[in-house]
């Protein structure tokens, strides 16, 4: 849904403008330890936040004061603003918003993580094959990928989901996952192409090591790092995406609570019921910030080139 945060080091771009090889005369010792400390702290607090969110999702039945789908009192408790009894208010069906949000965390998080897992797997496999085969097969596979990337994902998802709706959760995960692997493929393929040029892979091929073994032993371990980073950043995106789809009423099926579907249920009257719009939004933002911070910190931590402060060397 978002322009890509560059996942790998700027090496790819540098290679593109090979003319601009940079030779710095200055020792770039700058603030490496300070930066490292900052990365480490970002890594830890975002990880802690993610863990906390997962814990909250797991413990939803214990933590939630009410059942998420229970219509408490459709007359007296409809669209109640936040109060002591209902800290986050109630929705138009008199359901407790806090309870719905706690249970919604389960759906939103699990849909996002599973969809990303699927996307990362498919994307890695496709990229590996394309990069390894090379030549014409690679060219064809890449053009196909271009076409997939050219279709606006949201439009495609909305079209498919709307025409198939209502879909069960598993299909939602499948559809989101299967439309999300294109960029991972690109990344993996680029990485494969660079790994394939390294001596040990060339040597292994020269020795007649079978292809699958080369892929498994030599190439896959090298591409996993960027995939891990891309996947982490992808979770945030998918949470936003799922929320958007559910907001349109074609995501998680009613009455299942997800952070997006809470909007859908309240979407006719936000002027009066601001809490229904505000709290799920904040929950999404906090979660996505946590995943994006974790992904970015992971990239910085795993990519020593960037430690000098973004200087290409």
């Amino acid at each position: 849904m978002r322009p890509p945060i560059p996942v790998s080091a700027p090496a790819e771009r540098l290679a593109a403008s090979s003319v601009a090889s940079s030779v710095t005369t200055m020792p770039l010792v700058l603030d490496a330890p300070l930066r490292r400390a900052r990365i480490t702290s970002a890594l830890w607090w975002s990880l802690a936040l993610i863990a906390l969110l997962c814990l909250v999702a797991l413990l939803a039945p214990v933590l939630a004061p009410y059942s998420p789908n229970e219509q408490l009192d459709i007359v007296a408790l409809k669209n109640q603003a936040p109060s002591v009894a209902h800290p986050l208010g109630t929705d138009q069906y008199s359901r407790d918003l806090l309870s719905r949000m706690l249970f919604g965390a389960r759906i939103s998080l699990s849909v996002a993580m599973l969809a990303v897992l699927l996307a990362a797997t498919v994307g890695t496999a496709y990229g590996l094959v394309a990069g390894y085969l090379g030549g014409r097969a690679d060219a064809i596979m890449m053009r196909l990928l271009d076409a997939c990337l050219a279709i606006p994902r949201v439009l495609l998802l909305v079209a498919v989901l709307a025409l198939w709706s209502p879909v069960p959760l598993i299909s939602l995960i499948l559809v989101i996952g299967l439309t999300g692997w294109f960029e991972v493929s690109r990344l993996v393929r680029a990485e494969v192409l660079s790994v394939m040029k390294r001596e040990y892979v060339v040597a292994a091929r020269a020795l007649g090591t079978p292809g699958p073994r080369i892929i498994w032993r030599h190439i896959l371990p090298n591409v996993l790092t960027p995939v891990l980073v891309a996947a982490t950043l992808g979770v945030g995106n998918v949470i936003i995406l799922e929320a958007g789809l559910s907001y349109l009423g074609i995501g998680a099926r009613a009455p299942t609570a997800s952070w997006g579907s809470i909007f859908f249920d309240g979407s006719d009257a936000f002027q009066a019921t601001w809490w229904i719009a505000l709290f799920p939004g904040l929950a999404i933002i906090v979660t996505v910030v946590a995943f994006n911070t974790f992904g970015a910190a992971l990239r910085d931590a795993l990519d020593p080139h960037q430690l000098a402060g973004g200087n290409a060397r």
């Binding site: 090889s21 940079s22 030779v23 005369t25 200055m26 020792p27 010792v29 700058l30 603030d31 330890p33």
Partner: protein
């Protein structure tokens, strides 16, 4: 040389980071007379490039020129001059030629634009005049078809051509001093000779002073009148070029000369200086060269040598000046004797 053009006194340029200080240039003093060409020689990491950048205050943070450093040029101290005054000197009175002609030119502007820009910054020339001057300058540095070439981009030129462009850019304002930092290192040998010849021609034509920075003593021998050898952020020897080649005094200079291929010595194996330049965060105590020196004795490990006067206009930072007899008994340098020494990271 009564009145030097550039006089550097106690130049110290340090880099800060990691809680450590890199003393890249540590108390350098020398001067250049008007119209003089001098060479600044040393291995990479000895501080010669940082010295060059310091003259125009082009050292970027975390590097800093320390207080007490003086860079006197045409009656002003460049070390403390304000930004505006400094900009008026850069490119106009002192110009630089950098090592990598591939990267020293901006890839998105034509070479004509880049030369004309200097004219536009410093002269009150119109766009047209500046362009004409650029073309003229390209002609002077020996680029064929300068009017057409001026419209081309750096990537369309060969390395040698690019270095000619960089030189044209440096000389277009007819500066008093050109600092050439390894101007030939990135070029093929035949092109190297052409560029050196070009620099010499231009030097005699415009009476420009040149500070030639290089690790290649061969380049120095045929070009300059005086040589400064740097090691460990300091000047270790300074002498007229003939004296330096005939009677090198500092063991480091000796090592550099021995490592230089010469005609008539083809059969003898080239010697190399053992070890490498230590990191500028931890210069060795005493003489900074002592761990690589074949003559070093106890005194060298504790007593930092001053610059001893060896002959007329010949100085050397070596205690051998006081105990010349020790030169008769070379030994294995300390770095070779204690290979496990973990001084460096």
């Amino acid at each position: 040389m009564a009145d030097p053009l550039l006089q550097i006194e106690n130049l110290r340029t340090f880099f800060y980071g990691d809680g450590t200080v890199s003393r890249a240039v540590d108390g350098v003093t020398f001067s250049i007379g008007a119209g003089e060409t001098i060479g600044l020689v040393g291995e990479s990491g000895c501080g010669k490039s940082v010295t060059a950048l310091s003259v125009l205050r082009l050292v970027r943070p975390p590097g800093r020129i320390e207080e007490g450093s003086r860079i006197l040029f045409e009656g002003r101290d460049l070390a403390t001059l304000d930004e505006k005054g400094l900009r008026a000197v850069r490119g106009a009175r002192i110009a630089m030629v950098f090592q990598e002609p591939m990267t020293a030119l901006n890839p998105v502007f034509t070479i004509g634009e880049q030369i004309a820009e200097v004219v536009r910054i410093h002269g009150k020339a119109s766009r047209r005049e500046a362009w004409d001057r650029a073309v003229e300058m390209l002609q002077i540095v020996g680029i064929p078809g300068p009017a057409e070439r001026a419209r081309e981009y750096p990537h369309q030129l060969s390395g040698g051509m690019r270095q000619r462009v960089v030189i044209a850019m440096a000389l277009v304002m007819n500066p008093a001093l050109v600092i050439a930092d390894e101007p030939t290192t990135a070029l093929d040998v035949t092109i190297q000779a052409q560029i050196i010849e070009l620099l010499q021609q231009l030097q005699s034509r415009y009476q420009t002073s040149i500070l030639l920075i290089t690790h290649d003593l061969g380049v120095v021998a045929e070009t300059v009148s005086r040589v400064i050898v740097m090691y460990g952020g300091e000047i270790v020897e300074e002498a007229p070029v003939k004296a330096l080649f005939a009677e090198p005094h500092h063991p480091y200079t000796e090592g550099l000369l021995a490592a230089m291929p010469r005609l008539g010595q083809a059969r003898e194996r080239l010697r190399t200086i053992p070890g490498t330049v230590p990191p500028p965060t931890r210069w060795p105590s005493g003489c900074r060269f002592h761990d690589r020196c074949p003559y070093a004795w106890e005194r060298c490990t504790v007593d930092h040598p001053p610059l001893y006067q060896i002959g007329s206009a010949h100085v050397s930072r070596c205690h051998l000046a006081e105990e010349p007899a020790r030169r008769e008994h070379p030994h294995e340098p300390f770095v070779m004797q204690q290979p496990q020494r973990s001084g460096r990271s």
